[in-house]
Symmetry: C2
Subunit: 186 residues, 2 copies
C-alpha cells in the first residue's frame, strides 16, 4: 500500500499549517506546527519478509499489483505497529502466499537511503507445503534453485537476498549480509 | 527527541479531519482523510546504535537527558531519512560520545512491539581513542568488561546487547541475536 499522504502541509494534532525549522537541541529541519508547536518527525520505514523453504525449494510470488506487476518476489511488506520483525515477516508471507512459516535468521539487512527504507529479510521454514495465489500474488510457486527466474525478479532486494541465500546454503553459512543500496530502481 | 505530535486528528495533506477506516485491499484501520481521502500510515521506528570498542574496552555514555538520566547506555538513537543503518549508528555515536567509529556486524536485532520500535545495534571499532561529553551525555567512558556498570544501565536493550557482546567476544561468535521484548520499561 503506497502512502498517499506524503505531503506534510498541516499539523496532525491541531490542523494548523506547519513550517520547516530546526527544533532546539536538534540538528535537522523538522515540520513544526505554527500554532501548537508540535514537532512532526519523518523516519525510515521497515520492510519485513522472508525466503520460505520447503524440502529444498524456495517459495516465490508473482506480483499481481504494481509496482513490478508480473515479476517475482519473496513475500515481504511494511512492518506494522505492534508486531515484531519476525511476526511481521510471517504475516506478510501468509497474506501474499497462503504459506505458514517459522521465521529463522536474517539473510540480509538492506538499507535504501534514497527511499527511506530498511529491509529485513529472513530465512524461513514452511510448516506445510500449502501455498497459493492471493490478492497480491497471481501465482505462488516453489522453485528448485536451478529454476529461480533470475531475469524476472521484481526488486534489487530480492536479487541480493536470493543470491546470498543460495550461496550461503551451499557454503553452510547463516550470518546476515549488510547491504546499502544506492539510488536506483528498487 | 520524543515525537510531540502523536495525536492523529487532521490530514497532513489538506488539513481536514481524519477518521479511522479500513482502506480497500487493506486489513487494518488507518487514519483516512474525510476530505481528500489520503491514507495516513503509522509504522514502527528504527533505532540504530553500536558498541564502540577501543583496545578491548567498551565505550558507554551516561545519559544527560530523560528518559533514564544518569544511567549508562551505548550510543543509539532514531534513524533519519536518507541514511543507511550503519551511517545512522555512526552519526549517533559521534553526536552522543564525540567518537568516530567504523560500524561492523549486527550484535542484536531487538523488536519492542509495545512501543513500535526496532533496534539495530552493531559492533564498532573506534578510529581513535577520542571521546568526550556531549549535550546528551554527561560522561563518556571506556570500560573494561569487569567494570561495566550492569546495575546502572539505562534500558533493557543495552543490557541484552552488552551481555551478548561480551559473551560472544569470549566465544568468538559474531552472528546476531534476534530478540523480541514484551511490554515493560525499555
Amino acid at each position: 500500500m503506497p502512502d498517499t499522504a506524503s505531503a506534510m502541509n498541516f499539523c496532525t494534532n491541531c490542523g494548523a499549517p506547519v513550517a520547516l525549522s530546526v527544533p532546539q537541541g536538534d540538528h535537522l529541519p523538522r515540520h513544526v506546527c505554527t500554532a501548537c508547536h508540535a514537532i512532526h518527525y519523518s523516519n525510515p520505514k521497515v520492510v519485513v519478509g522472508c525466503v520460505p523453504e520447503w524440502e529444498g525449494r524456495i517459495l516465490l510470488c508473482r506480483r499481481a499489483i504494481e509496482p513490478r506487476r508480473g515479476f517475482w518476489t519473496m513475500p515481504a511488506g511494511f512492518m506494522e505497529n505492534g508486531e515484531s520483525t519476525r511476526a511481521g515477516a510471517a504475516r506478510e508471507t501468509f497474506e501474499e502466499s497462503q504459506a505458514r512459516v517459522q521465521v529463522e535468521e536474517l539473510v540480509t539487512l538492506i538499507s535504501i537511503p534514497d527511499i527511506n527504507q530498511v529491509h529485513l529479510l529472513f530465512r524461513a521454514r514452511m510448516e506445510t507445503a500449502h501455498h497459493g495465489p492471493t490478492p497480491e500474488s497471481s501465482e505462488v510457486q516453489l522453485f528448485h534453485e536451478a529454476d529461480i527466474p533470475w531475469e524476472a525478479l521484481a526488486f534489487r532486494t530480492v536479487q541480493h537476498t536470493l543470491r546470498h541465500y543460495v550461496e550461503d546454503r551451499r557454503l553452510g553459512r547463516r550470518d546476515p549480509h549488510l547491504i546499502d543500496l544506492g539510488p536506483r530502481m528498487v
